[in-house]
Symmetry: D2
Subunit: 275 residues, 4 copies
């Protein structure tokens, strides 16, 4: 059996030694180990993949670690099981389609529990892949409440906003704390808000980009997971930028989903530490 | 003899035909030709390099073109002569040093008329290359006026702000309209103003960048010439970002100077068209 | 109506003038114009998009151009109609899936006439999108002949090798001269032939890449259309490289298809000129 | 005092625990720690930066480590002192100039003991920075022997081939085993040998690159340290590629020198592991 352990805790001497000592005593082999100390906040992060032939419960391992480590430690242990996602989208199909096809061909290893949209136009695409599609128009009363209920019911590991053009309420954000991943079509913090390609075109930039980030209550200001860019020039209209940018959006969102489901991301003080 | 012609004018039918017709009649060969029409503003841009064995004055060529082209046309003709620059800097040597060395080894083909700084610390470096160095402290009364006077006297093709940490007054900007090139150490419009690396670190971005642009009266908002970025991650302190970013700053500023002295840049409505 | 004209011809004085003159006389507006002169071979290339309200036959326009231009000129005129492709693949779904989904959502504007594979495993994916799927095993006698026949019958604008693991015979290459586009999973000319990621891993490179190119009789040596790369490091096994590389392969092949169907590519002396 | 410890050894259980245990017992704090296991060769790599207020000799620390670790372990301990280099070059100044200026302004923290060239033309540049310049023409008998002698006498941490256009003999390579760093102006393994830009131009590639690597007896085949590329297109002559490529060459060589002098590189089976 394989576990991935994520530990973060105020830094102190000997943490690597202590943690590796505990793991060895439980009879696990360390397959992969990464550490980082944030010197600004004096905080320690460690991600360890461990393996053992005989079974041991996650709880027992957690007990061993939490007894020896400082109380302030944040210890998470993940079994090697498939994660699940719910995808929220509006009308644009390119990020959604990329996730669907990658999942279908096994390149993305995730259980897509459902796609929820405030429009009907993406149903045909989604149902090609035998994924449940829920149309919840944002025009009806309590639309967001219905979406939250549906998400709670489906209980996914992560909620993916694949070009979802609605702003989530604090209630929504709180209900899925650090579990909602958005793709924004600019290199944040440039061009926050609506129509970033139009903003980029008007500013005359020579690069456009995309940013995947966790959603917080401040619009487009959550912890950044990854970003990429491409060069553009004066021949690009903003529609050309929008078209070209789709490729970066797809790549950046897919990368973020991969990192999330592989338990590679720590969130600390509105930043990500990614191993 | 070789001329580079830059023409921009409200678009209308047959401009390429008309301009190439005039050029042919003057007995020139077209060596290289680039055109672009900005469909949003319906504006035409053309850059043409022409060659001829026998001599012809720039003025005669200008007359031929301006007589036939619409009155609103903006016609610039550049002879194949070395451009000159004056460099303004503060204390940081990396962009300055890069320009000095590239010019020394012939990779940058420009006449550096002087370096003006509000500090003394760069004098030794500059004088190694036998370039005049003027120290004009920003603490003395009328410092900017003195700098403007010195620049007017030296009359360079372009003024290069190679990490010049003072904001230019509208008087300065106006005196060298579309001739002042700045390097800003972020991918604008993100992180305008002071200490962009600290801002980038605090925001937790995964890319840092640099932007060269013409200086206008709005801080860091002039027409962008070129931009580049590099990937960073959680292991970078803001000092690490600052150190790594120097490479991008150097590359982006050197590129902008090259484009400017090769007469490749049009400025139109706060954007650049670059051939 | 809109036409795209591609002209290439030995360079001589006044070609831009002449061609634009002919176009104007036929009553067309020039929407976009790009030229290039290959100084090494003294060869001229021009791509022009022209527009007119009233109809004119392609043939008439061709006549006007060919009468005035030198006999050696290669003149191609494309109407603004949808191109078609046939996709050849083996077992890997990632490039195929990307083309299918992009076409389905309208991001790629092409008529996919069929997918031909020497295996059965991709049928389900292809048929989701109502595209004909032909399984022609390479183990049967005359398999390639059957594929050629099928392609001739379908008569596509381009044949796309989306990870097709068979080498085409000269007969095949000749039958679809300059119409077959391949994706090779390395930055050519590095790692020609089988298993480039394993080759790249063994060499210890720090970048991996992908190359789209026209197929000629020399393996992986045809005219390159586009290339892209990504940084890797010592933590990548060759399987990791293979997985990560899929993203570049998809992007580079999709880009090449876009350029081809938009009539942007000239082929000259085993190189491409792309506007 | 600060030490950087590089340990590589056949992998076995508990190495991180063991090594961190030894370090803690010597009273050091671990400032930074990175590990990697090469699963293909079952080999373990660890780089640790440790700090302590009181002094301890490097030898004592080495003893503690080598007594407890397996005999096959390769243990290197570096004090926090300035490294030194000798630069070999031929006629091209751009990489040399970049190193000289970066060192002068403190961006590169190294002691340049001398520049050795088989030509005279770079003397003036080098002597501006008060660095000894030795001209040893390759035309004289025993030229290489003289260079080896000079290098042995100067005893630098690394020898940097900054566009040195001579092939080193096995004697030379052996005398400075894993200490000679070269910059090759292509993305290796493409375009090994002479004039890679011409080769790249002839092949019609859409990217050009540069590679820094340790020198071995097989030409351009040593362990790769870093690589970078830039996009080019049909408008680039091979002279244009050569000019544009200088920027990548400079950046890639400077990066390699930084990594080497910061003790970040392991060499194992013709590959580098870089922390």
């Amino acid at each position: 059996m394989t576990f991935t352990i994520l530990i973060d805790t105020p830094d102190k001497e000997g943490l690597v030694y202590e943690i590796s000592s505990i793991i060895l005593k439980t009879g696990f082999n360390i397959e992969k180990n990464d550490e980082f100390v944030d010197k600004e906040h004096n905080h320690f992060f460690m991600r360890t993949i461990i393996k053992k032939e005989h079974n041991i419960s996650k709880n027992n391992l957690y007990q061993s670690l939490s007894q020896k480590l400082p109380k302030e430690s944040n210890i998470r242990i993940f079994e090697d099981t498939k994660k699940s996602i719910v995808i929220l989208c509006t009308k644009e199909p390119h990020c959604l389609g990329d996730i669907l096809i990658k999942n279908n061909i096994g390149e993305l290893n995730v259980d897509i529990k459902a796609v929820i949209s405030n429009h009907e136009n993406l149903r045909e695409l989604v149902e090609k892949f035998n994924i449940p599609y829920f149309h919840i128009s944002h025009k009806i009363n309590g639309a967001e409440h219905l979406i939250i209920q549906k998400c709670k019911e489906l209980n996914p590991s992560f909620i993916i906003l694949a070009k979802y053009m609605q702003i989530l309420s604090p209630t929504f954000v709180e209900a899925f704390h650090q579990k909602i991943i958005n793709i924004h079509h600019s290199f944040l913090p440039a061009f926050i808000g609506a129509n970033p390609y139009k903003q980029a075109y008007d500013r005359g930039v020579k690069i456009i980009g995309a940013t995947s980030h966790f959603v917080t209550n401040e619009l487009d200001c959550g912890p950044i997971i990854c970003q990429d860019i491409m060069q553009v020039n004066h021949t690009y209209s903003w529609k050309d930028m929008q078209k070209a940018g789709k490729t970066i959006e797809r790549v950046v969102l897919a990368k973020a989903i991969d990192l999330a489901i592989e338990n590679r991301i720590f969130i600390h003080k509105n930043k990500t530490i990614i191993f």
